[in-house]
């Protein structure tokens, strides 16, 4: 639009520096000034218009006309607020008495509006940021100049980046693709103004796609159910077209171009966009389809959706690479454990033969020294077993062989296993258990659990102390308590003791050896049985571990 702005007398001097050439007449100077002002107003992409003290339009620039779709003749002398500022963004009526533009004219003070809309001649609106500068004469406002810029692009960019942030959060919070999908669709729909989001997965030869996940905004349930129903052939609807072409497609005016073959229910949004999703090997793995009203389906939205899809695919690819590294690490632990066992077999076996005296009689000292070698070889064997088990727990390949186990008997057996070590330190060990408490559990693993707790109790209780083991049924659960009068665990460190390789400072400072695997394994065994393990808070020195196992089969009184 090339219409020239009309020149307001009042502003001219305020904006333009007037060239002063003595020879010029007032007439020619005025004409030059008018031309210059005209050029200034036309040159900017900001909308700019003038108001008189009644709020009627006195002039407009080229950009204002282009943005609003009006001709100068149709608006000059009309009230600006009534013309293009009559309604708020939310559709509610905007009384002139509340308008900052009018207030600026009334009060003679400039006003800025950061969140506003202007209405075009065709009845649509666009978001703007505007400033109003009053024209003052002797301290009194005689009108105002209003400038505005269209912030549609900025708003869209903000919305896009907020959506991308929301997508990143969803990806971070979910542990699998299946789990992430619906929240992802929801985040995209909410962020970009769609009502319905659908994820489609193609068959092997890409001839059709089935709906995998969906998000439907409240109020669009009927349309959502209809759109997500069944299987689409390649070419059918926006998603099918995107599948066939391998490109993003935008369908506007869905009333005339139905998105499905069956008859549409009411309330189907006006437009749709479908985006193909390519995996890391550039193979088509899915199609995302979104439905919303016209405003949501702009070219920029296609770009944003494409960016988000790439973001999601890359995130998932990175995650599966992380999982591969994780798997390899666990495999490595398993291999190392295996490799360690072979030499241990030779060491242990030959020691056994020497200690058995088969290769000739041993002197007392030789026997004593070989006993030390044997003890350490056994310790190494246990460590390798723990390491392997910790690896299995981490990688989820840790199996339980569930049978009926009497925990009372198990507790007595476990106590007998540490009896020699306890006697060596003059520890009193007591077991309090009723007749029988039968649970469903893995006998070997439960034994290992009890043995870990008891071995710790022996290790951390100074000479002359005591260890007490209790087994009882409480509220339908089997409760095992292992208490000691030992050095205890500092309160601040209690939250960490079940972590792999964590060692309490009370242990390390006293030079008590260990790997920091025992409690982590005990916790995994307990949780594998659906139970829980914790440390009881105690006033007196010492430590009390409690294990609760839920699967009690039956309880028998002591005979």
């Amino acid at each position: 639009m090339k219409s020239r702005a009309l020149i307001p007398w009042a502003v001219a001097g305020g904006i333009v520096t007037v060239a002063r050439r003595r020879s010029e007449t007032v007439e020619s100077r005025y004409s030059e000034l008018a031309n210059r002002l005209d050029a200034v107003l036309a040159s900017t992409d900001q909308g700019l218009y003038g108001l008189d003290c009644a709020g009627d339009i006195t002039f407009v620039n080229r950009s204002t006309l282009e943005q609003t779709g009006y001709t100068p003749e149709s608006i000059l002398g009309h009230n600006a607020h009534a013309l293009w500022h009559h309604t708020r963004a939310d559709g509610s009526l905007y009384p002139g008495s509340e308008c900052p533009v009018d207030r600026a004219v009334r009060n003679g003070k400039s006003e800025q509006i950061l969140e506003d809309v202007l209405w075009r001649s065709d009845g649509t609106s666009f978001p703007v940021e505007s400033s109003t500068y009053p024209l003052l004469e002797n301290g009194r406002a005689t009108g105002a100049v209003v400038t505005f810029i269209d912030v549609t692009a900025r708003k869209l960019a903000e919305r896009q980046s907020e959506t991308q942030d929301a997508v990143t959060r969803v990806l971070g919070d979910s542990s699998s693709v299946g789990e992430a999908l619906s929240p992802l669709l929801a985040a995209i729909c909410r962020g970009l103004g769609f009502e319905i989001g659908l994820a489609w997965v193609p068959n092997a030869d890409l001839s059709e796609i089935g709906c995998w996940a969906s998000y439907v905004a409240r109020g669009a349930e009927g349309a959502g159910a209809w759109l997500s129903h069944g299987v689409l052939a390649a070419g059918e609807g926006p998603a099918g077209s995107s599948l066939a072409s391998g490109e993003a497609v935008v369908w506007r005016d869905l009333e005339r171009q139905p998105p499905r073959r069956s008859v549409a229910p009411s309330g189907v949004p006006k437009s749709a966009v479908a985006i193909p999703v390519f995996g890391i090997a550039s193979e088509l793995v899915a199609v995302a389809e979104f439905f919303g009203d016209e405003v949501a389906v702009e070219e920029d939205v296609v770009d944003t959706l494409t960016t988000i899809v790439v973001q999601v695919v890359q995130h998932l690819a990175r995650r599966s690479a992380d999982e591969e590294i994780y798997r390899l690490r666990e495999q490595f632990v398993a291999n190392v454990s295996h490799e360690l066992r072979t030499p241990l077999t030779a060491i242990d076996g030959w020691l056994q033969i020497l200690l058995g005296g088969e290769a000739g009689p041993l002197t007392d000292e030789q026997g004593k020294f070989l006993g030390i070698v044997k003890r350490n070889s056994e310790r190494l064997t246990r460590l390798v077993g723990d390491l392997l088990l910790a690896g299995q727990i981490e990688s989820g390949t840790f199996d339980l062989d569930l049978v009926e186990v009497d925990v009372a008997v198990l507790a007595r057996e476990a106590t007998e296993l540490v009896a020699a070590a306890a006697t060596g330190k003059q520890l009193r060990v007591s077991v309090e258990a009723p007749g029988a408490i039968i649970v469903r559990g893995d006998r070997a693993r439960l034994m290992q659990l009890l043995n870990n707790l008891l071995a710790n109790a022996v290790k951390f209780t100074p000479e002359g102390g005591w260890i007490s083991v209790g087994v009882a049924v409480s509220e339908g659960k089997c409760r095992i308590t292992v208490a000691d009068s030992g050095i205890g665990i500092p309160t601040a460190e209690r939250v960490h003791i079940f972590e792999r390789f964590y060692r309490a400072s009370s242990a390390t400072s006293r030079g008590i050896t260990g790997t920091g695997l025992g409690l982590a394994i005990s916790k995994a065994i307990t949780e594998g049985h659906g139970g829980s393990i914790w440390l009881e808070e105690e006033e007196r020195p010492g430590t009390v571990f409690v294990v609760e196992l839920p699967q009690v089969v039956r309880e028998e009184a002591q005979l």
Partner: protein
């Protein structure tokens, strides 16, 4: 190859020399004649030629593993009755199940107690 007593002959197949020597030492000192194999292939040849009463097979051997040796022994008419004890360094239950599925009579986890090995050998032979 030892065949001077009436004790049943035992085939020992293990690729690790130190562990194999341990098996040989312990079983021969317990009075069993023995055959030695360094891998699964050799174990199969010796089993076919000498028909030992029992085979102690390491699971992880080069060429043919212990599971496969067991399966082949079970598949052939002449070697079908040879008893098998597997030595496994892997402690997972699935491996043990696999061993029994292949037709093993018993298994021992590495590291094993040599005395326990002798006890198991006697027990498996006694089952006949």
């Amino acid at each position: 190859v030892n065949d001077h007593t009436e004790s049943p002959t035992i085939l020992i197949a293990e690729d690790e020399p130190d562990v194999r020597a341990l098996l040989v030492y312990r079983l021969s000192h317990s009075g069993f004649p023995f055959l030695e194999a360094f891998d699964g292939e050799e174990a199969l040849c010796l089993a076919r030629d000498h028909l030992p009463a029992l085979a102690v097979l390491d699971v992880m051997m080069p060429k043919v593993d212990g599971y496969e040796v067991t399966r082949q022994l079970r598949a052939e008419e002449s070697t079908r009755t040879i008893r098998v004890i597997l030595l496994t360094a892997r402690a997972q239950e699935a491996d043990i199940t696999r061993g029994f599925a292949a037709g093993a009579d018993d298994y021992l986890r590495k590291p094993f107690n040599p005395d326990e090995l002798v006890a198991r050998v006697r027990a498996v032979l006694g089952r006949r």
